[in-house]
Symmetry: C2
Subunit: 407 residues, 2 copies
């Protein structure tokens, strides 16, 4: 497995584009993106668990059930959520406009939106931009870079990745881009992730691999505990790699699934690192739980705690808040068996053993927690379950960004 450049254009047969069509009326930023496979695809997708779902989610979910998505059109600047029947019509229209110009069936185009909730989507503005969008499809950096820019909102950096692995001698490529900054919580809130691959795989296997990867990556990221109306992870596989088709869970499937998981973990980490206002990536690793899911629940409880997050911001080795957050995770455990340590590239320091304080140097702890990437290691007991969750600190900038997002 090796890393590539090229994002969603790294896999053969995919092109991308991003333009400014004017949805973000007061901004010069790009706001409309398209990713397209020249050949038909197997596809799989996952959507928000929020009961309030954006029109784009409702429409894309319907189209995705056919498993043949080969293009996605996405806008930023407007979430097209809580917009009623007109919003649904606009989402369908958005897919239709792209499909017509691409000369493919509407049901093969997914739709995604991100931005403010409750404002009608300016569909005529999108209509005016559709020709330019399709005509600017490119398979090089100008394609995937522009598409990525067009789905960013409060993101401060571009988050994309690509990998190559070999399956029975054939080079197989995967690439992905992600947008997501605030409102991110397990179950994938206000994140959009588009993944392309040239692997030849059945829709069923693709779906299985995606669910496993998302469960161990995007569903283990928490920024502020809010879960959005609009999130979506989509993968399209066009088979151009020419590998022997993956149609069951053998070694080839495992290799591909592992690569997909690695790609998603990379994007998920980047997303946490770029959480709204975040100064630090905070990785919480729980070991010794009864099973993996239990470990993940405890890790999420710690990573989601506003008090833990502010302590990370302040580089304060306040492990009592870690124990406290474990305590309200809703699952029984023995507080007197818990070990806690902090780590970063500046070192590792144990701060709590068997549920009680161990002497440690506050200066050393401060130095460790002052790094940009820090980790909280928790051992709950002797069980086999472990899980990693990615979060970030809670900072003045989070308040600033969200105190008046709309203006």
């Amino acid at each position: 497995m090796k890393e590539l450049i090229g994002g969603v254009c790294a896999a053969q047969g995919f092109r991308a584009a991003g333009i400014r069509c004017g949805i973000k009326a007061l901004s010069k930023k790009r706001d409309l993106a398209l990713i397209y496979s020249e050949k038909p695809c197997a596809a799989a997708a996952m959507f928000t668990a929020n009961r309030v779902k954006a029109a784009s989610v409702l429409v894309s979910r319907e189209y995705a059930t056919r498993g043949q998505i080969r293009a996605v059109i996405a806008n930023s600047g407007n979430a097209n959520a809580c917009t009623g029947e007109p919003g649904l019509a606009s989402a369908r229209r958005m897919a239709e406009l792209a499909a017509r110009k691409l000369n493919i069936p509407t049901e093969q185009v997914a739709v995604a939106s991100t931005g403010v909730i409750g404002v009608p989507l300016p569909i005529t503005v999108i209509e005016g931009g559709i020709d330019a969008l399709v005509e600017s499809l490119r398979s090089d950096a100008e394609g995937h870079d522009a598409a990525l820019e067009a789905i960013m909102t409060t993101d401060t950096r571009k988050k994309e990745a690509a990998l190559e692995l070999e399956i029975m001698g054939a080079p197989v490529r995967l690439g992905g881009m992600v947008k997501g900054a605030g409102m991110i919580h397990p179950n994938m809130a206000t994140m959009l992730c588009f993944i392309t691959t040239d692997v030849l795989i059945s829709g069923e296997c693709l779906d299985k691999a995606l669910r496993r990867a998302v469960n161990r990556s995007f569903n283990r990221v928490t920024i502020d505990g809010d879960t959005s109306t609009n999130d979506m992870v989509l993968i399209m596989a066009n088979g151009e790699a020419g590998n022997p088709p993956i149609i069951a869970e053998g070694p080839d499937f495992q290799n591909f699934a592992a690569a997909l998981e690695a790609l998603c973990v990379k994007l998920a980490r980047d997303m946490a690192r770029d959480g709204e206002g975040a100064a630090k990536l905070v990785t919480v690793i729980v070991q010794g739980a009864s099973d993996e899911n239990t470990a993940a629940v405890f890790a999420k409880s710690v990573a989601s705690s506003n008090l833990v997050k502010t302590a990370c911001f302040g580089a304060d080795a306040n492990w009592g808040r870690v124990l406290c957050a474990l305590g309200y995770a809703g699952i029984d455990f023995d507080p007197n068996a818990v070990d806690v340590g902090f780590a970063s590239r500046a070192g590792t320091i144990p701060v709590c053993q068997k549920g009680a304080s161990v002497p440690f140097s506050e200066d050393a702890a401060k130095r460790i927690l002052s790094e940009e990437e820090i980790a909280i290691h928790i051992t709950l007991g002797t069980g086999p379950g472990e899980a990693t969750v990615w979060g970030c600190d809670l900072t003045y900038d989070y308040i600033k960004i969200n105190g008046d997002y709309r203006s």
Copy 2:
């Protein structure tokens, strides 16, 4: 029912004290409190739902099962949590010291602590202060004021209340004090609440009245979603009012229970208003749910959302975040039936009807949301369930206070 001054000393036969004994080594603030009834009491108590419980909680819970608590000794500056066996011994010792000086059984003294977690309680410092503490017990303002000061941590204002009602011609008094600023969430996190009353009531009825009142007050407050290791609500009833004893759920019980609920709601609102770094009290009222508990779950989800809280801070009428928070409350509902409005003493403004935007003046909304006490009114449908939850905004000061609490 009329309001009184006097806090926990308003009821007959109660005295209180608060001194500086030196637990907060670097501060001149009071840090040790005592509340005491001259006569034996019926008592009831509720404790944190956190799996990690402070030593004081474990000891007080044990003593409270006998239903005869007539004194409480409480310290600030140290939570005596995650302190192992020595911590438990210190908590027992704290009760014993007070009991010996008061000449009552140790099991009639509850213990409470609040402050930093994981640091051994300096029990010898408390021992050194116990005589001065007991000797300064007073039934006037110097008593309850000093006691209240001694349990405050990041609280910015004194939170106490007292009421009088009549039961069969006898004046009955209740008074309470509360401490609680950050880490407050349904299930009563890092809050201490001590209530005194001279009503004559059975322990069973007192317990029932307390549970009902707490469920509708302190368990409907959320500051930052964190639930602490130390919280406790205690009520002591010494029977000095001379009313016919309340031993069943008749009209006298209902009157007393209503007064207790009113007292707790007053203290809970004050606690939310004084949330760490809070600039505003945010009241969330959900109506039209299937039942009261369901309404409370939706209201808590909205009041706990960091995105809603920052919008309140910014006086931004971002109702999409309200719908979004309803959507991840974990209970099904019809987004297309939801109405949302904002209100304050500056006016009332509907912003969402049937799940979609209604035109409104942003200026008027800004004016309404710029008040210090604002309300979010949500109608989910046509069910009979309604509930009110109190929270606060999320501000720069919350980050400042919690970014380095220990130093």
